[in-house]
């Protein structure tokens, strides 16, 4: 009887210890993934959330979803792909029904603009600013998935990785990116600032 009770207690204790070890390893992985990718997540937030307050909320939400999904991370995809998936899925869920009205914001960053195929030799600052605001308008007319694709293009993510994140085939992504860039170029050509 005493032997049975003792073995039961030992089993309970070992389960408790095992759970503790698992929890600690989850914490370590989580902290490492988030601290390594903090900048990247903040940039994604800045595309989807217009105000500082919204960005903070979205960042918090991404952390929560990353915590909930960290158990599913088994290294099948790269950490970058994993964190981008969590960030973009959260951004879509965060906006919910308001997403259609949500503004997609692009910072005036030369790297981001060159990833978008924005003309480098734009010359005058005023012309450049006008073109930039036109670009913002055109980007906001894209569909939700197209916006998600373009946010990854702006991050300099490869087509193969974008396909992995979005869940479409690589050729499909390549065609979409090409078409979107073409339509952005077209929209920049029109109006008073045609070159």
């Amino acid at each position: 009887m005493i032997k049975n009770v003792t073995s039961g207690l030992v089993l309970l204790l070992s389960i408790q210890v095992e759970q503790e070890i698992l929890m600690n390893s989850k914490e370590t992985t989580f902290k490492k993934v988030i601290s390594d990718n903090e900048e990247r997540i903040r940039r994604i937030c800045s595309y989807y959330a217009p105000t500082e307050e919204d960005r903070k909320d979205m960042f918090q939400e991404i952390m929560i979803n990353a915590w909930k999904s960290i158990d599913s991370f088994r290294g099948d995809s790269s950490v970058d792909t994993w964190i981008y998936r969590v960030a973009i899925n959260t951004a879509l869920g965060f906006a919910g029904k308001e997403f259609k009205r949500m503004r997609f914001t692009v910072g005036f960053d030369p790297v981001v603009l060159s990833n978008l195929g924005f003309p480098e030799e734009a010359g005058e600052v005023m012309v450049l600013e006008q073109k930039f605001s036109k670009l913002q308008v055109s980007l906001n007319q894209l569909s939700v998935i197209e916006k998600a694709i373009m946010s990854l293009v702006m991050e300099g993510v490869s087509h193969r990785e974008i396909a992995d994140i979005i869940g479409l085939t690589e050729p499909n992504i390549r065609v979409k990116v090409h078409r979107i860039k073409e339509s952005l170029r077209e929209s920049l050509k029109g109006g008073d600032y045609e070159e």
Binding site: S69, W82, G96, F99, S143, V144
Partner: protein, 191 residues
């Protein structure tokens, strides 16, 4: 320069402190959710057996056949609702934000459908509760009415209650879930 370095170190320290408190908060929440899930399971498990023993098996011998049928109906409905809650909880836990975006949208589209299997199970549960309640009430109605008349009188009250409850459910669905469903459909149709 020195000031900048100091500010940077301080913000890094704050970030680490924030992260630690965040992880702690999430850990506490995970443990709380697990406790609630275990508690709910215990309540359903014990509840089903206690109710079945008292009302259906009739361990105290207090109930007649009709009351025992009523008890059996309530136990069956209880099992059905426990199954629905368990399935919903399982589905919610299975939501992973690490899925590819299109796959996540497809899963969300399924989750936000109105006529889901869970709704059919819930409607079956309501029908079972309705049968149990009407049998129970009918046997206590006095007077020269036939069983058909008694059933019709009981349902004159019960049916409006079920209809109102259903309409409230539809209204809540339209407010909370329908916009998500149209967002998912919109995204997928243009992907």
């Amino acid at each position: 320069m020195k000031n900048n370095l100091f500010a940077r170190n301080r913000s890094q320290e704050e970030a680490i402190r924030d992260m630690d408190s965040f992880v702690l908060k999430m850990r506490v929440e995970d443990e709380r959710n697990l406790r609630i899930a275990k508690g709910m399971f215990a309540v359903y498990f014990v509840g089903i057996f206690v109710y079945a023993a008292i009302y259906f098996v009739n361990i105290f011998g207090d109930f007649n056949t009709l009351e025992r049928i009523t008890g059996a109906c309530y136990v069956a409905a209880f099992i059905l609702f426990a199954f629905i809650f368990h399935k919903q909880k399982k589905d919610l836990v299975a939501v992973s934000y690490a899925l590819p975006v299109v796959e996540m949208l497809r899963m969300a589209e399924k989750r936000y459908q109105f006529w889901r299997p869970e709704l059919w199970y819930a409607l079956a549960g309501i029908v079972i509760v309705d049968i149990g309640s009407s049998i129970n009430v009918c046997q206590h109605i006095e007077g020269d009415m036939t069983w058909l008349h008694k059933m019709l009188s009981v349902h004159a009250v019960l049916i409006p209650i079920w209809v109102v409850a259903f309409m409230v459910g539809v209204w809540k669905y339209r407010r909370r879930f329908s916009p998500h469903l149209s967002l998912c459909k919109g995204c997928l149709s243009r992907s």
